[in-house]
């Protein structure tokens, strides 16, 4: 290529492979990125409602976990019902690594430590679980949930047993305490600080996963999903890549769990049930299986849903909000029913999720106002 760069004739033109491989190549994509970054930075200045911030914080945590599950299920084609187990592992790991009563590690270290711990456990379990495919794998990973619940309830020294444990982690990074943030002469609440922490990590993890799936290892995962015999014949070692995907997926689940524990400041074994796993499956199906974008959109739509239902349960007819209250369905059952319904509706009407809807919209406006 000559040293002088050729002029760009139109926004979609690329000059060479490096240009072609840029994540945010076109002008529109750069603008979109800028808008997202600005929204991320500015939002806590305008949004002070603890309720809405907590909805966003939970959604961000779910986005990180969903990115992990999408890597395993969406990109590698291995259905796992055990995601909640690894989220639990991460939450308890954070309790052990981060608090002043525990190892008292700084923020980056307990986050990384929890993620690495989850990945290691995943890498240990993977070789056994991934000998099976499809429904059999789903059943084995379902077993992980019950194994996990048993461990969380009975290893009382580490987990606090049935009554759970406090997760009192530090959350300071370079002089910024996300729990009690003072910035530009303003004080920010716990929820505002955690919004920056959580969604900053969402951005980082999304970038890492996107890079993974567009390079050699990620392509190998998708090859395993699409046709495993052909993948082996082009030189992809099936076992190695399946276990690798399982480990990375578990690591991200544990990272989400560590954030969850730190955000709630408390975890109990009841949280890491089969329902949580199914919630994550619903997120990736609604958002878009096999897309990074879909994991985040799905988490935004569904991750905040339990909180919303809880808040507005009193005004939804037929929902009982407490014992003795009339109504035919409890808040918890309503949650389950909605997640189930969404899975079914999306599988029937839009199996590729909201990400596909977005792509259609984008394709329509690409040549707008011309129809083709």
């Amino acid at each position: 290529m000559s040293s002088r760069r050729a002029p760009r004739v139109h926004g979609l033109m690329t000059r060479g492979y490096a240009d072609d491989l840029r994540l945010f190549g076109s002008g529109k994509a750069k603008l979109g990125l800028l808008a997202l970054v600005l929204a991320y930075l500015m939002l806590p200045f305008f949004l002070t409602s603890d309720f809405w911030l907590s909805v966003l914080d939970y959604a961000g945590i779910a986005a990180i976990g969903a990115l992990g599950l999408n890597l395993l299920t969406g990109y590698t084609g291995q259905v796992s019902l055990g995601h909640a187990f690894f989220i639990g592992l991460g939450a308890y790991a954070a309790a052990q690594l981060g608090g002043p009563d525990a190892l008292n590690l700084p923020l980056p270290l307990w986050l990384l430590g929890a993620a690495v711990f989850g990945a290691l456990v995943g890498a240990l379990i993977g070789p056994f679980a991934l000998r099976l495919r499809g429904n059999y794998l789903a059943i084995v990973t379902l077993g992980l949930i019950f194994l996990g619940e048993h461990l969380f309830r009975n290893l009382k020294d580490v987990t606090g047993g049935n009554s759970g444990t406090n997760v009192d982690t530090t959350a300071t990074l370079g002089g910024l305490d996300f729990k009690d943030l003072a910035l530009l002469g303003e004080n920010f609440s716990f929820n505002q600080g955690y919004f920056w922490l959580i969604w900053g990590l969402v951005g980082l993890v999304a970038l890492l996963v996107k890079n993974l799936v567009r390079t050699r290892p990620g392509r190998a995962l998708q090859a395993v999903r699409d046709r495993d015999v052909a993948a082996e014949v082009v030189g992809v070692q099936l076992g190695r890549y399946k276990v690798g995907a399982f480990a990375v997926s578990s690591g991200l689940a544990a990272l989400a769990g560590a954030l969850l524990g730190s955000y709630q400041q408390f975890v109990s074994p009841d949280e890491f049930s089969l329902f949580l796993s199914i919630q994550y499956i619903a997120i990736i199906i609604v958002g878009g299986v096999g897309t990074v974008f879909g994991s985040i959109v799905g988490a935004l739509v569904l991750g905040g849903l339990p909180g919303l239902i809880d808040k507005y349960s009193a005004s939804i007819p037929g929902v009982s909000t407490g014992s003795g209250d009339s109504g035919f369905i409890s808040v918890f059952s309503l949650n389950q029913a909605i997640f189930g319904l969404l899975i079914v509706l999306f599988l029937v009407f839009e199996p590729r999720g909201l990400a596909a809807v977005w792509l259609r919209v984008k394709a329509y406006f690409k040549a707008w106002p011309f129809s083709y």
Binding site: L21, T215, R227, A231, G235
Partner: protein, 277 residues
């Protein structure tokens, strides 16, 4: 590493000559035997293939042609015999390892990664030539980016050779059948193999598509100088392209020779048409 990334020989007048018998064999298959329970799929199969040679295997349905391929690239494990590629025995190795040693193949019923684009399918052909692991891939800057660009260039050469330019970004599963077959050939040669196994490359194609494919196969042979084994039912194509032909029936080789010899062999005619009582 010559092949696709190296200097490309001029197409016109490359003048393929049949490799002489003095040339050492690239692949030596000796006394191969494969059983599924009581069924003998292959029995006493012996042949060799030289560098630059196009070796065809013909025979009626169920003769064991595809089974030979599955043994060579490690999908099946034969009970008897050896398969030596440049002296290395392949019978104890798995498919991924054999791919790394320089054997690539296409499938009779297509083995494309349907949700991935044409470029990604071809890049997967480069998988065993690349090194980026999980961590380097996530980081992107450094090795991953360098390798992506370097191998994308090699992939572009394959795209050019097989005239796949209009389809770069399209998912493989959405392509017309003939293009899918061509893409699979592309993925196989993107691997820069020493030995290429083609399983019915023109099955289900019309005359025009078949002739295109034949032209591409000759192109590949002349430019890349690799050994090919071709399994095909389309006799005219086999007789036009092959340097040598092996005819099989019920897992046993009947004869090996030049197309003319095999065509005239009474045993081959009997196998296809049934022997007169």
């Amino acid at each position: 590493m010559g092949g696709v990334t190296g200097e490309v020989a001029p197409l016109a007048g490359a003048g393929h000559e049949r490799p002489g018998p003095s040339e050492p064999a690239l692949l030596e298959v000796t006394d191969l035997g494969l059983r599924f329970g009581g069924v003998k799929a292959l029995d006493g199969v012996t042949f060799d293939v030289r560098r630059g040679e196009l070796f065809a295997v013909i025979g009626p349905n169920g003769a064991g042609k595809t089974s030979i391929f599955n043994c060579i690239n490690g999908v099946y494990r034969p009970q008897r015999g050896t398969i030596a590629l440049e002296g290395t025995d392949l019978t104890k190795k798995g498919p991924a390892e054999i791919a790394g040693l320089g054997v690539s193949r296409t499938f009779q019923n297509l083995g494309l990664f349907e949700n991935l684009s044409v470029v990604d399918n071809l890049m997967l052909g480069r998988h065993h030539l690349m090194r980026t692991g999980f961590l380097a891939g996530m980081v992107w800057w450094g090795r991953a980016k360098r390798e992506e660009i370097e191998h994308r260039e090699a992939v572009e050469r394959v795209i050019e050779l097989l005239e796949l330019e209009p389809f770069r970004r399209q998912p493989a599963g959405k392509l017309p059948y003939g293009v899918q077959k061509r893409l699979e050939l592309g993925r196989a040669i993107a691997m820069e193999p020493k030995l290429l196994l083609l399983d019915e490359p023109v099955a289900g194609m019309n005359l025009e598509e078949s002739e295109d494919m034949a032209r591409h196969i000759l192109d590949v042979r002349d430019r890349l100088n690799l050994a090919m084994i071709l399994v095909e039912h389309q006799m005219a194509l086999v007789m036009d392209l092959a340097d040598r032909v092996m005819a099989m029936d019920f897992g046993v080789p009947i004869t090996v020779g030049t197309p003319e010899q095999v065509q005239g062999d009474q045993r081959v005619i009997d196998a296809y048409l049934g022997a007169a009582a």
